[in-house]
Amino acid sequence: MTVDIDKTAPEDTPPAGPEAIKAIPVRHYGRYISAVIALGLLASIIYAFAQGKINWSAVPDYFFDERILKGVGQTLLLTVLSMVIGIVGGIILAVMRLSKNPVTSSIAWFYIWFFRGTPVLVQLVVWFNLGLVFEYINLGPIYKDYWSDFMTPLLTALLGLGLNEAAYMAEICRAGLLSVDEGQTEAANALGMSHGKTLRRIVIPQAMRVIVPPTGNEVINMLKTTSLVSVVQYTELFRYAQDIGQTSGAPVEMYFLAAAWYLIMTSILSVGQYYIERYYARGSSRSLPPTPFQKIRANVFSLSTRKKATA
């Protein structure tokens, strides 16, 4: 994917070659009709929402409510920590699955099979109720407590989301590691690099190009999935919005508010993903796609030169 940044040739100078063709373009009436229908549908939906018995003014009233902001923070915290658990666990599982040791690769296979095969909501509830199986948690002299005291809502949520995520990340990482040409490992080995160094310095940086885009997806998914953890009594954005909705008498409005916040957060994450992808694409394409800022700067620059030319 090479993006041509070199669009310096101004469009208004006619080409020196033969005279350009000036023909009447074909009219695509089908396109006009479908555009009108689509706009009409959109307008009617917007009208329906505006007409509905929704008190829109409640949304800005509570948009920066202390509890909402706290919920946003909790949601972000949960997303980041769960993804850290998921990514670290995923890398370990991927390496285990690719190892030549049949025991570790089977264990990794079994883990992925189990955690990918059951709904995350079910897993969350199971973690929450594991106190029925283990009355105490006993790590010898280090730590001993009742399971129910040990399993705080935060820990339950983290384990539930993180361990589930590890199964997905394992498959993503495995695909990434397998995508790197074998010749790379061979070249590194021939230079005397150890397995660990080859993996760290040569294979993983190249695997990242394949790993980052689906991981970005996973982060966005995780951010939304955190709304499930209210079932284990953990309070984050969605739960706070619900609570406010019940006390303020605007329950549906608060759902819209939560949706807006989720959208804002996922949009910011998408931007971050773009820059990370760009970083790992270095060397893979001849010229990197410009960042939005570079695009703007290039446009402003060409605009100013054009002005000078006309002045």
Partner: protein, 267 residues
């Protein structure tokens, strides 16, 4: 530059051979690729391996730095067994770290270059000296610049492999291998993946390297290179050595019927 000057004057020491193979066998599953290879590569010589594809020449080359494990026979580099340690009459497999240690001294150049695409030419060259030998960065960079200049790419230090032509990539790959100061260089069909017009640059670098006294084993289809630069030549077919000797003799006057028919097709 058609005739090699003083080929006899080059130091090909009479001491221990750099590589010695005794009855080397290698199978992939049920397919026996090497069926007992015996040969000796003297220190300082340019040793060419030729033969039809599938004859086992590349496999043999890869056995020398233990990228492939041999199934039978003995293979020595600089007097030491490759991949094993002998104690009494028992063989012990070497640990990965010990194998890596030995590979430092053997440079390898691949048919498909295998440069690290996420690193610039310079970073490719300094990677192993820094990571494996622990040389400090400034020193490694200085040496890398010298090496890139030697292969004629002083101005390409900051380019990524994708921005270089095949011939340039292969020369960076040679510089990368030389950065480890190897005592033996393995070339696995270094010009086979190149456009014909780019082959010459790579061969020039290899010729220069040969003249500096490097021990080189070259799997190649470039008969001209073998004739001009080679000190010894081996023709392999079907996993065995069919004919060997001085390249000029073997290429102009092959004794074996199989060699004759192969050369009549490629020359």
């Amino acid at each position: 530059m058609t005739e090699k000057v003083n080929s006899g004057a080059r130091q090909t020491s009479s001491g221990a051979p750099m590589v010695k193979a005794e009855g080397v066998h290698k199978s992939f599953g049920l397919v026996e690729v090497l069926k007992g290879i015996d040969l000796e590569v003297r220190t300082g010589e340019v040793f060419c391996l030729i033969g039809p594809s599938g004859s086992g020449k590349s496999t043999f080359l890869r056995c020398i730095n233990h990228l492939e494990k041999i199934n039978a026979g003995r293979l020595y580099v600089d007097g030491e067994l490759v991949g094993y340690r002998q104690k009494g009459d028992k063989l012990y497999e070497l640990k990965d770290s010990e194998v890596s240690l030995k590979r430092r001294d053997i440079g390898m150049v691949f048919q498909r270059f295998n440069l690290f695409p996420h690193m610039t030419a310079l970073e490719n060259v300094i990677e192993a000296p820094i990571q494996v030998k622990g040389i400090n960065r400034a020193q490694a960079r200085e040496r890398a610049h010298q090496l890139l200049e030697r292969v004629g790419l002083a101005d390409k230090a900051g380019s990524y492999p994708s921005q270089l032509s095949g011939g340039q990539q292969q020369r960076v790959a040679i510089a990368r291998a030389l950065a480890m100061d190897p005592k033996l260089m393995l070339f696995d069909e270094p010009t086979s993946a190149l456009d014909p017009e780019l082959v010459g640059d790579v061969l020039d670098v290899m010729r220069d390297l040969a003249e500096s006294g490097m021990t080189m084993i070259v799997v190649t289809h470039e008969m001209g290179f073998a004739r001009e630069v080679g000190d010894s030549l081996v023709f392999m077919d079907g996993g065995v050595v069919v004919e060997s000797g001085n390249p000029r003799d073997v290429l102009t006057n092959p004794q074996h019927q199989r060699t004759q028919s192969f050369l009549s097709k490629v020359l």
